[in-house]
Amino acid sequence: MPFFLNPFAFAALSAVPVLVGIYYLRNRFRKRVVSSLILWEALVKSHEGGQKKDQLQLPLLFFLEILAIVCLGFAATQPFFKTTNNRIPVTVILDDSFSLLASETGNGEDSVQQELKEALSELVSRNLYEFEFMLAGEFPSRIGEATARTSREVDAALANWKCEQSNANLDAAIEEVKKMHTGNHRILVLTDEAPSLDYLRQDRELHWISRGKHLKNLAISFAARSPITTAPNQGQQLLVRLDRYAGKEESGTDALPPSSVDILIRRLEDESLIVRNSTRLSPGTSSEIMLKLPDEASGSDLIVEVEDDALQLDNRITLLAEKKAELSVYLSIDDPNYRQLWQEALNVLPQVQINRLPASEADLVISQKDYIPRDEQWHIYCPPQKKPVAFAGPYALSSDHPLVRGLPINNSIWAADPSAGEELYLEIEAERTTAEAQETPPGSPRRARPRSVLRSGQTDLVSETNLRRGGKRIRINLSPEFSTVQLSPPSWLILVVNLIQWKEAHLHGPEFTNTWRNRQTVRFPLDTTEALLTHPSGEKSSIQVIGGQARIETPEVGVWSITSASGGPSGGPATDPWRWSFFALSSSESDLSTATSETFDNWQELESEKRIHFRPFDWLFGLIAFSLVVVCCLFHNRKAG
């Protein structure tokens, strides 16, 4: 829709009736007395047919002149468009944590999310912006394929805005947008929290809309099921943490009376009640409840729920039964002391089966000799020690490495032969060089040089090397005779547990069975390229498996399942898909006392930017008028000629 900076210039259109008058006067018949009509008679008759042509020529010129006047008039009004190209790009960061589902009535119509949508609609109706959408989540991700300008496009993009995440990392999302866009790019945050002062002070491009509701809320803030380890075969126990958050009307009031809370444990398949437990909680307090599950429920998938309130998502979670995963270890250590050291540590872990399978079929091979692992098999190489040297205080090159998490080694002595296993290293290096010269098979991780994990001086104590097709060789250069590491049971045990858990994480199946994280990694056999994912809603989708791994984002709370498109989880028939439960649990999100409802507007300058982004097109009318004048002149000259 065009706008006019100078609408008074429309008065110039009054020249149109003037032109009409001129034409009227000009086209009136001039009187002319002639000697006789004898010479005119034949001409008048013959001209009647051709006169129509001449009359057509005349109106054409007339209309061209009219059009020229109109164009000049419009050009004088300085028309402009708020063109779509000049819309201000805005990335909308959507808080998708479950706290946005808070509702006083519980039916969702007055939820925080709904109110934020209405606030966004008001911005959309200004026709000043074009929107991209990004879900904050634990990791920011974009939704919607193209920029949205109209309400319909915005609604279509927001259809994927499901607030079922346990956390929304708004800061990470803001930083991500800033990295992606520079210049005149705006950021709009739709959330239920207040921004930090730094944002308000510094970010002129940031617009923050909060529509939080401070409501009382009873929430399950933690839930886990685990086997009872005090004695074998004692069944499973359930740990549930309940938080009762005070509402706005209750806050500031001391000594609120406790009220009773029922915790219901149901079976997932038929929702039959297994356990009912009651406790009393005052507003602003929490309680941790340990429940022993009946033996018949140990292998069942469970639902843990409390009564519904402002936030329903934290009142009901699903906990699937952990599948017992066995890890086969082939232990081949000649030194009896060293072998015992390994065996004692491995025996602590119930999932580890030692030497039950031959080396070729084991998941993990621990040996002091050369061994070439098969696909996805790990080899723990413990080279023989000829001239060990004791090192005090070995250090870890990366504290995030799975092997050294929680490993207390600062005050221990680690003895190792600096030249131990060099012959094997040379062999490995030759193999690596040869393999790199060839084409790397698809799906195989690129092999690299041995990566040092633990080190002392120039000596690698623990290092790892990625081999072809998921294979890995971990070299533990340790001389137990001169070391104190093994004398400190936690250090050695932690190292072995880390090793086993790291390997377990590389076994086929989902990384977590019950998780609040919205990203899941599922490992498949290396030859798997495609998997079929089933959403909690029943929707199915196909996902790509790369390098035996499928990384899945789970925006929806519930039980997810996945199976290889070519067969079951173990490569056999597709009968038993892997399942995991994703639930939203977060005490910070369940606590609605920090929710605010306010608009933090740093976009006040935008009103002045309107004029900058409006595109005038009076030049177009001027050009047309000029062209018409030229055409009119040509017409006149032609007639005069």
């Binding site: 018949f29 001039r30 009187k31 002319r32 005119w40 001409l43 000629g641």
Partner: protein, 323 residues
């Protein structure tokens, strides 16, 4: 019908044209194509039985001959009837016919009290009168169409061709034709043609812009004439239509109107029509032994000569003229 132009300014303008023409005509003389001695009763001799004393020859009697010219003595001797022929003394006559229709005094577009065409007609009339008088012609002026009556009565006469009553001598005393006839030249000739004197000079001045068969008029003009000249006097506006635009043309004689849009195509058609019209009259005049001379009023008005007539040997300068 008024005997004077309707407006005094126009009469003055026309009279000035007449006097200018008379003054111009004194430098010319009408070229006559027959020669002879001048007798007492006329200014020229003719080869017919006449009344002079100079015997010419005998010839056979033809019925209708005057019996007074029979040579009775010869008839007695030869028993044949012969007629005695003498040199005839005659005075040459010039009949000038002026188209008296309104179109001959078409008013100028820019000034209603002036008529270039009418002034040119009277200038030509005055010049021919003076040139004829120089050549001792007896000049009779005819108005084709209702015109001015006898000088003493000053009444308008009815249609047809009438003698224009000129007192003689200097045209300063002539009445001025009012060019008010509603008849065209053709209609006037049809109703009452001029009674021309046989073997006289005849000149017709008109614009010939009327729809009529030219043959009867040219035959009337050429019959028993020594010489016949038909002069077409046209305005420049008659020759070419005005510039582009819508035009309502009004017939000066009938008052009829036509609406027409002028463009270059119509201009070409108009010129072609005029050319065809002139060709028609020219052809008819030639067939009857007449000269058809088209003149442009503006040229006659502006020039101090009658070059076109001179080139056609209708008139000549006084020094070169045969007495």
């Amino acid at each position: 019908m008024s005997s004077q132009p309707s407006r005094p300014g126009l009469e003055t303008d026309l009279r000035r044209g007449l006097l200018d023409g008379y003054e111009l005509g004194t430098r010319y003389t009408v070229v006559s194509n027959y020669q002879g001695n001048r007798g007492l009763n006329g200014t020229r001799f003719r080869r017919q039985a006449g009344s002079s004393m100079e015997f010419l020859e005998h010839r056979d009697y033809h019925p209708g001959d005057d019996l007074r010219h029979v040579d009775w003595s010869v008839m007695a001797k030869r028993e044949m009837v012969y007629i005695k022929c003498y040199e005839q003394e005659s005075t040459p006559v010039l009949d000038i016919v002026i188209d008296h229709s309104r179109s001959m005094c078409l008013r100028d577009m820019d000034e209603d009290q002036k008529s270039t065409k009418g002034r040119s007609v009277l200038k030509l009339l005055g010049a021919l009168y003076a040139a004829a008088r120089s050549a001792h012609f007896h000049v009779k002026i005819w108005l084709a169409g209702s015109g001015v009556g006898p000088a003493e009565s000053r009444t308008a006469v009815q249609g047809g061709c009438h003698l224009f009553p000129i007192p003689g001598g200097h045209p300063g005393s002539w009445p001025i034709p009012d060019f008010s006839s509603e008849q065209t030249l053709g209609e006037a000739f049809l109703e009452r043609p001029p009674s021309f004197r046989p073997n006289g000079y005849r000149m017709l001045i008109s614009d010939f812009l009327f729809d009529a068969d030219p043959a009867p008029i040219t035959q009337q003009m050429a019959q028993n004439s020594q010489r016949c000249v038909m002069i077409q006097m046209l305005n420049q506006s008659d020759r070419s239509p005005p510039e582009h635009g819508s035009l309502r043309v009004i017939d000066s004689e009938t008052g009829e109107t036509r609406n027409v849009y002028i463009d270059s195509q119509l201009q070409r058609q108009y010129a072609q029509t005029l050319e065809n019209h002139q060709a028609k009259w020219h052809e008819s005049a030639s067939r009857n032994g007449c000269l058809f001379v088209p003149l442009t009023a503006e040229n006659v008005q502006s020039r101090d000569s009658l070059r076109e007539l001179e080139e056609l040997q209708i008139i000549s300068s006084s020094k070169a003229a045969t007495p």
